[in-house]
């Protein structure tokens, strides 16, 4: 698959633009008012009843959608702070009868929650540094260097994104066992870092850097390594931001592989810890939700702080 992700942001835009030329029967008398983006067309002044009704209907729909999307999260928070009696009562209650931190005490008191949190941080940090570095290097090679077999190798690297993790799980398990790292952090880290995730994005970004900059550096006698470090990297800050955010999110949430690669409960990451807690405490939903809340909070904060990068990255990389 040479271009498996044809629609990355501006790709879609140009595609749409090129297609827009087709419906030729449509007269091009538009005044350039945005479809819904407001604009400066006189019509804005007179809002017909139909338009008002439509605006209200849209807002109502958005409110309903917003509530549906938020309710599960609201419910998680509520249960995390509710006494257990609330959770199991059969009466309908959408507000805790009293707020309590008991569930958090259980989670931190009876389980190595702080350790799990630390494990998640360490594994996510190492995987992110490794993956982003490796992907930047490869992205640069694919974008700006010429070498034998480039097309074929690029194709091969991208095709790995099509391989389902589950296909490899048995063989990867055997591999980490053979390598003697089964049950260690490295068993999680190394296979996770082996990903083409981000290479496509890195290549697209770096290829847009003007060749003139590179030429100028060459005239000054800079080799590829110096060019990479001094010319390319400083220009790649937005790219690095996107790669870091997406890798952190992916790794922090990763479940299937750490579930296989780790065995000692002291080394668990938060998602595996969550499952373990559920296995031990069965139906202590309050405690489960408290730990779930702890596990998702860092990512949510990160998302809210850097939403722009997240959304751009997702729209362009097409990888989640």
């Amino acid at each position: 698959m040479a271009h498996p992700l044809p629609l990355t942001g501006d790709g879609a835009a140009t595609d749409a633009a090129s297609r827009s030329a087709r419906p030729g029967s449509v007269s091009r008398s538009g005044t350039g008012s945005g479809n819904g983006t407001g604009g400066f067309v006189p019509r804005v002044k007179r809002v017909s009843p139909a338009q008002r009704a439509s605006a209200i209907a849209r807002l109502m729909t958005a409110v309903v959608v917003g509530i549906v999307m938020m309710f599960p999260l609201y419910w998680m928070v509520t249960l995390a702070f509710s006494p257990n009696a609330d959770v199991f009562s059969r009466e309908l209650r959408i507000w805790p009868s009293s707020w309590t931190l008991d569930n958090f005490r259980t989670v931190f008191g009876s389980f190595p929650t702080a350790t799990w949190f630390g494990n998640s941080v360490v594994i996510t940090a190492i995987v992110t540094v490794l993956t982003v570095t490796v992907n930047l290097l490869a992205g640069y090679a694919f974008a700006k260097l010429d070498f034998r077999g480039k097309g074929a190798i690029f194709l091969m690297v991208l095709s790995t994104m099509m391989i389902p993790v589950q296909v490899l799980m048995v063989a990867q398990f055997r591999l980490v066992t053979q390598l003697g790292i089964y049950g260690t952090f490295w068993a999680v880290i190394l296979p996770s870092a082996a990903s083409a995730f981000g290479i496509f994005l890195a290549r697209q970004f770096i290829i847009a850097i003007p060749d003139e900059l590179i030429e100028a550096a060459k005239v000054d006698g800079a080799g590829p390594v110096r060019i990479f470090l001094q010319i390319i990297l400083p220009l790649c800050k937005p790219l690095i931001a996107v790669l870091v955010l997406l890798t952190v999110m992916y790794q922090w949430n990763d479940f299937a592989w750490p579930l296989i690669a780790l065995k000692d409960s002291q080394l668990f990451t938060l998602p595996i810890g969550l499952l373990y807690l559920r296995g031990q405490y069965g139906a202590d939903y309050g405690a489960i939700m408290a730990l779930a809340l702890i596990s998702i909070t860092p990512i949510i904060i990160m998302f809210l702080a850097f939403q722009k990068y997240f959304v751009q990255g997702l729209a362009r990389s097409g990888i989640r």
Binding site: M1, P4, A13, A16, R19, S20, V26, S27, S29, G32, N35, G38, A62, V65, M69, M70, P72, L73, W75, M76, V134, L137, A138, A141, K144, L145, D146, K150, T160, M162, I163, V167, L168, M169, V170, A171, Q172, L175, L190, A193, A194, I207, P224, M249, F255, A256, L274, L275, I288, M289, A292, S295, I299, F303, Q307, F310, V311, L314, G318, R320
Partner: protein, 322 residues
């Protein structure tokens, strides 16, 4: 690809004359040519990535094929059994049930994700107070871990104490047997999946919509096209590339769904929500029949491959035809 730009670059890369047959002679005579040096440097940059991919992806992929032709005993595989594992698959009702469930799950979730994603993208692309906030709310679920989401699903849909059934009972409707009845359990998984996934579909569709020239809608309005006609004859065809891309991503995602099902239902009740991936995991790491699990993995791999090829070809012919 970038063949043209990189070729240009290469010619200036050498301080000497542009690449000529002389270069290839230099290769043969053992002296490193500029081209060779450039290739060496390139592989230096690619090396870390290629080594990681080679060891942890391509090696296991080949290994998985081998394991699937062996017989398993506990941990290590032993003797070759040829196609025995695959023959067992062919007559294993649980495998077929899981394959069917995977197909049904994909056929339900993909169109729904696309439709909801497009609908929400159109809504969120229009004039709307608080548009940014609404967008954020819709995106949020996609950054939350699958396990946390699934556990949330467990709570919401608990038959006895879950809020969904409480609300239903309050509204005079009976509770739904989310855990004890197969199709209800299946529905709960579909709902949770949609909750996770509409955000991603909306992101891609929004990017697609923003590439459409507003003049087209203006023109259509002047010609008297209704909102529905504008949507049907302008928006839908013009976001075609986004739809194609999402179709691939959504199908692959649905096909490989694991976290949600593993945590919410574990494939139950009975086998009613068992899918290929959870069945492979169960064989590989619960009952420890790893060769059989590898064979299921290879089937998943081949199906993914076939789907991608069909999609790819379909898209190409559509592009050349249209």
């Amino acid at each position: 690809m970038s063949a043209d730009t990189s070729a240009r670059e290469e010619s200036t890369d050498c301080t000497g004359p542009p690449p000529s047959p002389a270069d290839t002679y230099a290769v043969r005579s053992g002296k490193p040519s500029h081209r060779q040096l450039a290739t060496l440097t390139s592989y230096g940059f690619l090396g870390p990535n290629l080594i990681l991919l080679g060891i942890f992806l391509f090696l296991p992929l080949g290994w998985a094929f081998l394991i699937s032709f062996q017989e398993s005993n506990g941990f290590g595989a032993s003797g070759w059994v040829g196609l025995e594992n695959y023959q067992r698959l062919a007559t294993d009702p649980t495998f077929w049930q899981s394959a069917l469930n995977t197909a049904v799950f994909t056929l339900i979730t993909v169109p729904l994700s696309l439709a909801l994603g497009l609908g929400l993208a159109v809504l969120m692309n229009s004039v709307l107070p608080g548009r940014k906030l609404f967008r954020t709310l819709i995106y949020l679920p996609m950054v939350i871990s699958g396990v946390a989401t699934a556990l949330m699903g467990v709570l919401l849909f608990d038959e006895a104490t879950g809020i969904v059934n409480k609300l239903l009972r309050e509204g005079g409707l009976g509770g739904i047997p989310w855990q004890s009845q197969g199709s209800a359990a299946f529905a709960s998984i579909v709902l949770v999946t949609l909750w996770i996934r509409v955000g991603f579909n909306m992101v891609i569709y929004l990017a697609g919509l923003q590439g459409i020239s507003p003049e087209l809608y203006e023109a259509a309005r002047l010609e008297g096209a209704s909102s529905w006609q504008q949507f049907r004859y302008l928006t839908v065809p013009l976001v075609g590339p986004s739809t194609f891309f999402l179709l691939i991503m959504d199908v692959i995602y649905s096909f490989q769904v694991f976290d949600t099902i593993f945590v919410m239902t574990g494939g139950g009740p009975g086998r009613s929500t068992s899918v290929l991936v959870t069945y492979a995991y169960e064989n590989g790491f619960v009952t420890r029949d790893q060769s059989y699990a590898a064979a299921i993995g290879i089937v998943i791999f081949l199906l993914t491959l076939i789907f991608t090829a069909i999609q790819w070809r379909g898209n190409r012919s559509r592009d050349t035809a249209g």
